[in-house]
């Protein structure tokens, strides 16, 4: 078994089972790191807590909701505005965050009265918003506050409001993934089936595990609408509270991030018979195949093919321009969970880079199975790494760029490894045919940034070169290319700075419904 022991973690022998190197000729039955286990004391994990996973990752992207944390203000503050899940209602859920501001005296005397006061105040302050989610935190869970009872009380007093209670305190799991699980099941048990949605198409899906990072959801919705598909709900990016109460009426659950949302898909399949179709919105081939599959399911594959042909013709040449310049660049793919497998194969095939390491902070062994399968031999796979292990890996692997979160990303930058934000993106969206080119553009800019080159110069020394002027990215990236490649009229990404706002006012073709056609015949 090719487990990898970090020098810096020799004093924590349990860590050895959490990292493997994929050796020649080996498969998943030879190598798989442990995963989703309690953090080993002393390792200084970088994971988030179960409250953060429920609130920050899954709950808060719902756009027409007051998101209230019942606990100390720090829990809310630390999970506010750090992930760019935008919405088309002026980003209400990003602009405002709410907390009951529990203090020591409430721990002694109870905080239920305080919670009720906060709920009423929040609804009064935003009279247009009639929906609320309340998130349990460690402190209020430990004192036993009954949030559900308070929510019921308020809903009885104010019948026009509806409240969802998420009981996922920070200690409710090994990592934020515990919170993903809890909020999935809680939403299904409490809210799904409590609203009957209006069905406007013969083809109805829930788009699940999609959080509209910098507009990802809106890009994908554009494709679905062009195909005449009704997206009943998005779980949860840019999604509305009431649309998610009607999830039980979809014909198909299209699942993007299985790590955070497979639970609700699996239960919707078990309880309501709605099938689960896993898709990849990242990468031209994977996205094309995903649209084809959805088209096939509904018997409208021709509509998918038309979109794929149009989008590929527009964006593939620009993607190839980057691929030529990113050949062989070494990447550490260190996201939170699902992107390690969404991206591992697609970036190698379509951008020419080489993934030398994958890691996951909160993923399960299932995520590692997908990730290890999709990267090549020699890749180092790490579960729940700590900062010292990250530094050792960076020094050993010498990547050209790292895709990770902002905490390890800033450390990487100080080690002179360019970093791209894998969670909130740099200049996303990254989903969609165009988005994938934007991602390639960001990688290119990171790898060949002249500023990055300049940062290597130690100006405290006398012996740095003073006879060289400023270089451009093209001078760096094209140095070894053929004359033909250099002469290409393409210059990389030519899309707009903001590809999302244009989608919001777009009109779509109206497809005649099958029922209407059959009645006419």
């Amino acid at each position: 078994m090719p487990y990898h022991e970090f020098e810096v973690s020799k004093c924590i022998p349990e860590r050895k089972m959490h990292a493997v190197v994929k050796g020649p000729g080996e498969d998943l039955t030879d190598a798989l790191p442990k995963g989703y286990l309690n953090t080993i004391p002393g390792t200084i994990s970088e994971r988030g807590c179960a409250y953060c996973g429920a609130k920050h990752v899954i709950g808060t992207p719902m756009k027409d909701v007051i998101h209230l944390s019942h606990g100390p203000v720090g829990c809310t503050y630390d999970t506010w505005q750090t992930k760019r899940y935008i919405s088309d209602n002026n980003n209400f859920q990003l602009k405002y965050t709410f907390a009951s501001d529990v203090k020591e005296k409430h721990i002694v005397f109870g905080a239920e009265k305080l919670l009720k006061q906060n709920i009423l105040e929040a609804f009064d302050a935003f009279p247009d918003i009639k929906r609320m989610t309340i998130y349990q935190t460690c402190a209020t869970a430990l004192i036993g506050d009954d949030i559900g009872a308070i929510a019921e009380e308020v809903m009885t007093e104010r019948p026009e409001v509806d409240i969802f209670v998420c009981n996922s305190p920070g200690f409710g799991g090994p990592s934020q993934s515990g919170g993903h699980h809890k909020i999935n099941i809680a939403w299904l048990n409490q809210k799904v089936g409590t609203v009957e949605p209006e069905i406007t198409s013969d083809y109805v899906i829930n788009y699940v595990g999609e959080y509209n990072i910098q507009g990802d959801q809106e890009v994908m919705l554009d494709y679905f609408k062009r195909m005449g598909i009704q997206v009943l709900s998005t779980f949860t990016g840019n999604g509305t509270y009431d649309s998610l109460r009607g999830m039980h009426r979809a014909h198909l659950n299209v699942l993007e991030c299985a790590r955070s949302a497979e639970y609700i898909c699996d239960e919707l399949r078990a309880r309501y018979g709605i099938p689960r179709l896993d898709i990849d919105g990242f990468g031209h081939k994977a996205l094309g195949d995903s649209l084809r599959k959805i088209g096939l399911f509904f018997g409208i594959e021709d509509r998918a093919e038309a979109i794929i042909a149009e989008e590929t013709a527009r964006w593939k040449p620009e993607l190839d321009w980057y691929k030529e310049r990113l050949q062989g660049k070494k990447v550490c793919l260190w996201p939170g969970g699902s992107k390690l497998w969404h991206w591992a194969h697609a970036i190698q095939e379509e951008m020419g880079v080489k993934v030398v390491s994958v890691y996951t902070k909160f993923g399960h062994q299932g995520d590692m199975e997908k990730g290890v399968s999709r990267c090549g031999e020699g890749a180092l796979a790490i579960d729940d790494p700590n900062e010292l292990e990250n530094q050792e890996a960076l020094l050993t692997l010498k990547p050209d760029v790292i895709f990770t979160g902002k905490r390890p990303g800033e450390v990487a930058k100080k080690m002179r490894v360019p970093y791209l934000n894998a969670h909130a993106y740099h200049n996303g969206p990254y989903k969609g045919f165009e988005g994938w080119v934007r991602f390639a553009r960001d990688i290119y800019n990171a790898v060949y940034s002249p500023m990055h080159q300049l940062s290597a110069i130690d100006i405290s020394k006398d012996d740095y070169a003073i006879d060289k002027g400023f270089v451009t990215r093209r001078m760096l990236s094209d140095a070894t290319l053929s004359e033909e490649a250099k002469a290409s009229p393409i210059t990389g990404y030519t899309g707009p700075f903001d590809p999302i706002s244009g989608l919001r006012g777009k009109t779509y073709p109206v497809f005649e419904r099958r029922a209407a056609t059959e009645a006419a015949e």
């Binding site: 998943l28 039955t29 442990k34 989703y36 198909l252 497979e262 709605i274 179709l277 084809r292 999709r374």
Partner: protein, 141 residues
């Protein structure tokens, strides 16, 4: 659709089918063919990695079963939403196999069935019976 409340906890006790790698005792030609198909699945597909072992068993059987039928020209059952969902993954798989593996067109129906049966066994081994994933037998989703 009708809502079902009862949970099938016995599903976690699915039987093991293989106690060793099914490719260990086949000839090199078969091994090479199966490996080519396996690599495509492991690099490009997600359906084989549902979180629980009993689901993986059904997914593998459903999709690879229908892929075999498509490759040998048999009619495929798409009468239920679940069958249709297996079928769409099978259609994409069959297309990609045909596009990438020219040798498939030179095989007769029985030979294709034989290769796909070994592939099915191998995917079951990698993702279920030989898997090191300790969460496959957790009773709940």
């Amino acid at each position: 659709m009708a809502k079902k409340d009862k949970k099938d906890v016995a599903r976690a006790n699915y039987p093991k089918l293989y106690d060793h790698d099914p490719l260990a005792d086949v000839d090199d030609d078969m091994k090479s063919k199966v490996s080519e198909l396996e690599t495509y699945i492991m690099k490009n597909c997600l359906w084989q990695f549902n979180s629980r072992g009993w689901d993986r068993r059904k997914q593998n059987a459903g999709i690879l079963g229908k892929t075999t039928q498509l490759l040998v020209g048999e009619e495929v059952d798409t009468s239920t939403p679940l069958d249709k969902c297996y079928w769409v993954d099978a259609v994409l798989l069959a297309r990609n196999f045909r596009e990438r593996c020219a040798w498939l067109s030179g095989l007769g129906a029985d030979e294709i069935r034989s290769v796909l049966a070994k592939l099915h066994a191998r995917i079951d081994w990698l993702t279920i019976d030989g898997s090191l994933n300790e969460e496959l037998t957790v009773q709940n989703y």
